[in-house]
Symmetry: C2
Subunit: 105 residues, 2 copies
């Protein structure tokens, strides 16, 4: 279950991944779980928040752009990205952002 | 229903609002719908994506920080923010981000 990520004081980076799934299953849930596990072990990973209804929003938080680049280039992640494009998503958008400020309840 | 926001080429800004609801209803759904409607009419509004399960993630997109400041200070929105803090949310985190890059399927 997702919760509110306990990120450090800004600045840090966020990757907002908004997606619409196809009807194709073909191992999606297993791969998604594996990617969460793998991301959490990457250098510079700060946390993740993920919610899905018809549309899914997954936000992962990272120390810097270099950490994001390294995660994007991870071999197992590259394979998942390829299957995402070919099979699991009918549309998605990825936004790379610098978190400049935050506040909370 | 939410979809993938059709935002322009970066740079622009994103406000990531991650929240956990209390059990209190007290007009929440009406106010949430009203805030979406009102935000969409603000200068500099570029789009919004919103998904809720146990946790909710709402991302709104804005032209610049000035647009975000003006929306935060909107009178009706201030009232909603106050009710959010006192009644509707047990926890939330708001992150103000500069979108530096994006790509899509």
């Amino acid at each position: 279950m997702t919760t509110i990520a306990n990120t450090p004081a800004p600045p840090y980076y966020a990757v907002i991944f908004t997606s619409i799934r196809t009807d194709a299953d073909q191992g999606y849930a297993d791969m998604a779980a594996r990617m969460v596990e793998l991301a959490a072990r990457q250098p510079g990973f700060l946390g993740m928040e993920s919610v899905r209804q018809e549309v899914g929003i997954t936000v992962s938080y990272w120390k810097d752009l270099e950490s994001i680049r390294a995660w994007k280039a991870n071999a197992e992640h590259l394979q998942a990205q390829q299957l995402g494009r070919s099979t699991w998503y009918s549309a998605f958008k990825t936004r790379i952002c610098k978190v400049e400020r935050d506040y909370r309840l």
